[in-house]
Symmetry: C2
Subunit: 939 residues, 2 copies
């Protein structure tokens, strides 16, 4: 199944890729459309000494392929300018300046000042304005723009260039003094907050006080004079707070804002976001300085965001929101409820507010032209930001739009059907991990739905959990193993860790493009946003809706696909997969080289495995079968037995049940390979603990509680993970392995008879450290096979192999492969022993480790390619050297993690095995790994 190239060359490849953390590679790959990325592969496309790239007036110095240097926003603004689209002119200060700034004690390159001045002059020339000019002042926005999108993480300043003089010029020029002073007070608020460290609460306080005095209810009640008066108070408050006046020099303002944006690269939110998304600090951010256009210049002005296709469903229809007479941030902030863009959408939503198509028909037409052009140009669904200033449309941003997994699938498949991209590109377009969203349970249609509120269906899937009201509490309860729903009025970047910890998110404010909605979709978590009927009392830790009060700890369920909020726990059902899902996974299957199996212990698991397209069972853990209520007593009798004979008697009771398990599994798998692992856990796991339980069990068994307790104590271990388990049990009590082998072989004969398909069981011996161990256990298995063959007269093919889950097994893989017909890397245990970290105890420090960057991520989630990975490579190489046809797989939980699947592909494994629900993820990830390697080998 897997392509065989020499392990050495695979490992070389792995090394050459090592410089970027794996997740970063993934997000980089996702963030940029493929074509753009290919262009950018020349790394740093900047010229030496060139720190500023201009755009606007129908052309630009940059282009979309220069994301590394210009950031995503800057590169795409340049690209749009080059396409001749209406982009307010401006310039981008490169990420190189950010890097330089941090490497040189917060100093700028010496050439920078002159380059900024020149670029500013160019903008003035295009706009016919001049920075700081008392008649026709140029106003600019200053925005961050990193290589990867980091929504809301860094700071932005709008309306920069306003001062006591230019505000009057703006008033005169626009003929709207109220607009001018409103803009000035917005600028003072933003600038003071972002650059001067004087928080916006100061200004809100002054505003509230003013409104109270005047008896105003809304901001719209304030007149031009009110704003002008407030501007005076605002400036005084700044003076009082910082001991210096608010800067009147636009150049001072500009450099202050530039410094603040670079500074925001290192703020706590940005650091957290980078950690969560594995974005290297070294990337830095660019700064975009752009001429202001105003969406708040009256009723013919507007601002909006749009997706070229529906980001939730993938439907090919423009999807977006806009606000008349508003500035850009107003839409995203979710403070006012926005209007629909097209008439169709307005009708569908049943809104009575006019659509953009109605209200601003010319601008709408232009937007339609542009979005079609951009989608064809970028060959992907775009996320657009625009402003209409007095009827004229200006494009402020375009980028590959974030989307739900469901939408990603549909868009990828449809773009391929439209021949905009190839099938392979479509396969590469969908983040395998995001499929998890589609595979999550949804609410059982038969379940009673105690609907208490309905909000927006912001992120699909459903989840049940205890209510928590703060991100910190979410994190704490999650650490205790509890499932929570995070309930907030609205979320902000400060809540990210809590959203991570929660099963689902519920907000009472904000739209489909609010922070909560965007982030939840990215995380693949169910989210209901804008459920306005709910009143949240965060301090009191309650929420009230329709007279019903919910306290912290009460259970609720959110259905992110319908927007419903339900009281209590609700039954869930398994997901139904769309046609696009099958299509895309089919394309993936045709290119992947890795096999994909499932870990399945029960008939239910096995059925799910088959349904999700598993090509076999890579790990059937037989101990789970031992815990069955009917059986545990016989298991305990076996453990209490004083000799081999008594053990055999107890095992004889288990044999028919165990055989029954296997017959059913083999029947379901219908000839697909099934790897069955012999009993692995320490025996004490099967015995009761605590005097009370011991007494109960002893009574039920008719056993002496003293004897039971003694045996439990005898078997107790200091480090059970490193104790008497795995093949060590099979060696001490070979009867157990014999019984299991017999059950497997008898079942294989029986199932083959019933299904007519030959069953070739793969018997797997766990925790091997030496070849001698395997040989001893293998001899017992072979004996059982011989006996069953003789008794039944049936043909019986089988394989005996081993888990490779100890460092020594990897190192001795050559010797072990002399006896083992297959290897299955147990990367859970291999990670525990290689790192010396007990998974059960790691919570106390592993969080700190990933938070502080000591480890790039949880090595139990994504395989550590350096340490654990090297042992896997060594094991594969040495094993195959001795037995070239050795079948090699992985059955740790890493088998369903896309980065780990890519590792397995590079390491030439034959297959991965993961939980049934992650099988589609593994199939897609395996395809992407194969395509990635093809691309690399062509390069």
């Amino acid at each position: 199944m897997a392509k065989r190239s020499s392990v050495k060359s695979a490992s070389k490849k792995a090394k050459s890729r090592k410089s970027l953390p794996k997740k970063a590679r993934r997000s980089a790959a996702k963030a940029a459309p493929r074509k753009g990325q290919a262009k950018a592969s020349g790394k740093n496309a900047g010229k030496a000494g060139k720190w500023v790239y201009a755009f606007g007036g129908g052309k630009a110095e940059g282009r979309s392929g220069m994301k590394d240097l210009l950031g995503g926003k800057g590169a795409n603004l340049a690209e749009m300018a080059n396409l001749g689209l209406p982009v307010p002119p401006g310039f981008t200060i490169t990420t190189g300046v950010c890097t330089y700034y941090y490497a040189n004690s917060n100093k700028y390159p010496k050439e920078l000042k002159a380059q900024v001045e020149a670029a500013l002059a160019r903008v003035g020339k295009i706009t016919g304005k001049a920075f700081g000019d008392a008649k026709n002042p140029l106003l600019v926005s200053v925005r961050s723009g990193a290589r990867a999108s980091m929504p809301g993480m860094m700071d932005t300043v709008l309306n920069l260039g306003l001062n006591d003089r230019t505000v009057e010029a703006l008033a005169a020029k626009s003929g709207d003094r109220r607009f001018a002073y409103d803009s000035y007070r917005r600028f003072i608020t933003m600038y003071s907050d972002v650059v001067l460290g004087v928080g916006h609460d100061h200004f809100e306080e002054l505003l509230d006080h003013h409104k109270e005095q005047k008896g105003y209810a809304n901001d719209t009640d304030l007149t031009a004079d009110d704003w002008a008066e407030l501007v005076v108070r605002y400036k005084k408050r700044v003076q009082d707070e910082r001991g210096k006046p608010f800067p009147q020099d636009p150049h001072e303002q500009l450099w202050g804002a530039i410094g603040a944006v670079f500074g925001s690269w290192m703020n706590q939110r940005a650091i957290t976001y980078r950690r969560l998304h594995s974005i290297p600090e070294s990337w830095g951010t660019a700064v975009n300085v752009q001429a202001m256009v105003f969406g708040n210049m009256g009723e013919t002005s507007a601002t909006g965001v749009a997706f070229t296709r529906n980001p939730s469903t993938g439907e090919k229809k423009l999807y977006g929101e806009f606000l008349i007479n508003a500035q850009g941030e107003d839409v995203v902030a979710g403070i006012r409820t926005p209007q629909e863009i097209s008439e169709d959408a307005r009708k569908e939503a049943g809104s009575d507010k006019p659509s953009m198509e109605q209200a601003l028909p010319a601008a709408y037409k232009e937007l339609t032209r542009i979005y079609n052009l951009l989608e064809r140009h970028y060959r992907d669904m775009q996320d657009l930001e625009f402003t209409v200033e007095q009827g004229k449309l200006w494009m402020l941003q375009t980028r590959s739009g974030k989307r739900t997994a469901k939408a990603a699938l549909r868009i990828a498949v449809e773009l391929a059907s439209e021949k905009l991209i190839t099938k392979n590109e479509a396969v590469l377009r969908v983040d395998p991990a995001s499929l998890d969203q589609l595979l999550h349970p949804t609410i059982d249609p038969k379940a009673e739905r105690k609907i208490v509120a309905t909000g927006l269906p912001a992120s699909p899937g459903a989840a049940t959990g205890e209510i928590v009201f703060t991100a910190d509490e979410a994190t704490q309860l999650k650490a205790d193993g509890r499932k929570v729903i995070l309930v907030r009025v609205e979320t902000s970047p400060e809540d990210i860790h809590g959203m991570h910890a929660a099963e689902g998110i519920l907000t009472t404010r904000g739209g489909m493009t609010s922070h909560a909605a965007v982030v939840a979709r990215g995380m693949g978590k169910p989210c209901v946003s804008g459920a306005g009927s709910i009143r949240v009392d965060t301090a009191g830790r309650t929420m009230t809706v329709a007279g019903q009060q919910f306290k912290q700890g009460d259970y609720i369920t959110v259905d992110g696909s319908t927007g419903q909020v339900l009281a209590g726990k609700v039954d869930m059902v398994e997901p139904q997969l769309s046609g696009e899902f099958a299509t895309l996974i089919g394309w993936a299957d045709s290119v992947r080289k890795l096999g994909v199996r499932a870990n399945a212990d029960t008939p239910a698991d096995a059925r799910a495995a088959v349904r999700f397209g598993a090509e076999g069972i890579g790990l059937c853990r037989t101990e789970h079968m031992f815990f069955d209520e009917e059986r545990i007593q016989a298991v305990r009798e076996m453990i209490l037995a004083n000799d081999s004979e008594a053990r055999r008697a107890a095992l004889a009771k288990i044999l028919p049940m165990q055989r029954g398990d296997f017959v059913e599994l083999f029947e379901i798998m219908a000839g697909r390979p099934v790897t069955i692992r012999l009993l692995d856990p320490p025996l004490h796991e099967f015995l009761p603990h605590g005097d009370k339980e011991i007494a109960e069990v002893a009574a039920a068994m008719g056993a002496d509680p003293r004897r039971l307790k003694d045996r439990a104590e005898e078997l107790a271990e200091f480090n059970p993970m490193l104790g008497f388990r795995g093949c060590r049990i099979a060696i001490a009590y070979p009867e157990i392995a014999e019984m299991q082998a017999r059950a497997i072989f008898e079942a294989a004969v029986e199932a083959a008879k019933r299904t007519g398909k030959p069953v070739v069981p793969e018997v797997m011996v766990p925790l091997i450290a030496t070849k001698a161990e395997l040989d001893l256990v293998k001899a017992r298995i072979d004996d059982a096979a011989k006996a069953v063959k003789k008794e039944t007269g049936a043909k019986l093919n089988y394989q005996v192999g081993t888990m490779i889950e100890l460092p020594r097994a990897s190192l001795m893989a050559g010797e072990i492969a002399e006896s083992a017909e297959f290897f299955s890397f147990g990367t859970n245990d291999l990670t525990q022993t290689t790192f010396g970290i007990s998974r059960d105890d790691a919570a106390s420090f592993l969080g700190t480790y990933t938070a502080r960057g000591i480890l790039p991520g949880d090595p139990f989630v994504s395989i550590d390619p350096e340490g654990v990975g090297e042992l896997v490579r060594i094991g594969v190489e040495r094993g195959r050297k001795v037995r070239p046809k050795l079948k090699v797989g992985i059955c740790g939980e890493h088998g369903g993690d896309p980065a780990s699947v890519a590792f397995c592909h590079r390491t030439d494994l034959d297959y991965v095995s993961c939980s049934p629900f992650r099988v589609p993820i593994a199939r897609l990830a395996a395809a992407q790994a194969a395509l990635g390697e093809d691309a690399a080998s062509q390069a």
Copy 2:
């Protein structure tokens, strides 16, 4: 210190040596004198198709270098024959026949029969006798003889060739019919037991019955007719038991005996012995067939054993025992108390029985000539067996004599002084592990000695333990961690496992060359033999002496250096080392390349380390200092602290004490390097367990017991070995590392001031898995150093390094070496993680593993060169690649194990560190490793 060759070449060497288990290599090296071994190095010196090698009549076909083919006994008989010494003629059937026999379903090579017949004819020709001849019959002994000495493990038949006709010829020829029939009945007894499977109890029963009937007290009371009558009954019993008569055909007898000897290679005793001594089954045994000479042919006949030097003290004086009118096995069996050989020895022993010098002066003179010749020839102390037949001395065996460590030292040093061997040869002559005997405690001279009995000082050293009466019980109690003294009437090969388990051995019968004495000396265990005043009731589990009864479980002490048996436990003192010890270790030091340090946590340890010649401290475990009664309270306060501030307050109390520890250590070590490891164990180890203890501790601390319990539960771990420990603590609570670093640096400054010698502390960070961990902790250490430098104005040199004790650390050694200035391999933990075996829990299966050969030995005792060893090699190689001058040591308990020391030498480590008492062992082992490598590189 260590010679640097490329790690690759060292690892190649390791591989080429891999074919023999390490212990086997060692015993092979010990068993043969160097010269002989060098000759034998051509491996199998036998000619194809030649299965029989003759000797006698002044020449031989074999020689001493052919041990692999002829076994030790056969090779040395040939050598003595070639030297012209009086050896009864005979021949050796090679080990090749044994190998052939087992490889070909117990069939002999086809050429064998004819070759045996020819050799037998040659013996007849030399002796003038003929096999089976009715007039002048040739009688032979048939003895096993393996490559390595396996005393008493395999079977022997004497007087073979006797039958109803030849017994009369022997009577006529010897003129002693009683001798002839005594010999015949001995032959029937031995042959039936060994070859026919009719046990000797049958014959003892008949003998006892006869003596009872006749009213005889002793065997000597029996007349010729009595023996003749018994022979008839013996033969009838054989007929009854096996349904076939006792074989009368001498040829049938011979082939029966040969088959029995080969068969005995696979008996349980032999298998156990081989396992204990790591002798490969593939070696096989030779069979020696030799003309009988009779030590029991009257008062001018005798049999004896002698050592050319005293095997207990090494004194250069013939040392031995003989019995007049006895057959060889009588001396070794310890049934009759033997006589001294020289007059000097007789006087010294105060014996009133005549010495050999008196009784058989001519034979004594001849023996003196021969033993001097043999010692010069073999250049080593020899262990001789001889028989005097009617005044004529015959040599039956010579071999390198087993000796105590004390004797080995003295003999090696004296042989070198006598220029018989070189100093380097002397260094190679002493088994490093045996030095342990000399380093064992002896009874405190000031202790009260409640002497209850005195036996022979059979093996030096003293030991205290609970009395056990069977080997099985010794093993069981040992497994429970108890110390036992094995008390037996006499020991036999069946008792070996019990002797291994016991601290010391006491027998009530047998001499200095009895089984118990020989085996105990070999094991380095204290042994008192032949304490005849003690009556043992094994069934009743008691022993009685002078009216005092001791039960199983009562404590006794044996002093193997004086032969005393003491009641109860007795205080011990540390050993005094002889001048030879210092001389030999001095020679060793001049050739070894590995440094040797000690693991020392306390001033007492450090003083012992210096006394035993440690060149520094390789591991100072600071946690032991935390357990001090005065300190543990502050430690607990620290653990209970809610924040960094409270932790610092508690740590401030510990700082001066910790500093004091280090000052003292540095003073004792007087400028030698000291490696101090930061706190390593999980914090819960410092907290009380159980409600009662918690309540007590809480009361003493004035703390809330609930809080104490909560914290203990919070810190409890499933797998503490893989938990929150090592650098993980230093990262979570950097205050602890800071305090320790400060204590170390302040102490270094203080001690340098006091001693005038600069102290360069080596600060070691435990349990590193990633470079980032080390960097974080190192930053704290460096900060503390800076602060102390600033505060004291003193110069301060130090190094920061790390334990390499996790597989990942070995694999990432290159990266880690960027920050680490030294590595110390913690092979205890590295073995636990590489094998996935918890040392604390391994007892339940590790015994089975070594017993069944799944592992060659306990990997916690002797390093696993394949798995763990490869990780060490990888770590060294990658670390040195990045930092060529990286100092690399080992501080696991392997540091004091000779095979592991040899591994460390091969792997180019700079030093090993071990417990102070094992420092001399490591020094000697390091020298042998260096000499071994030189020899190998010259070859």
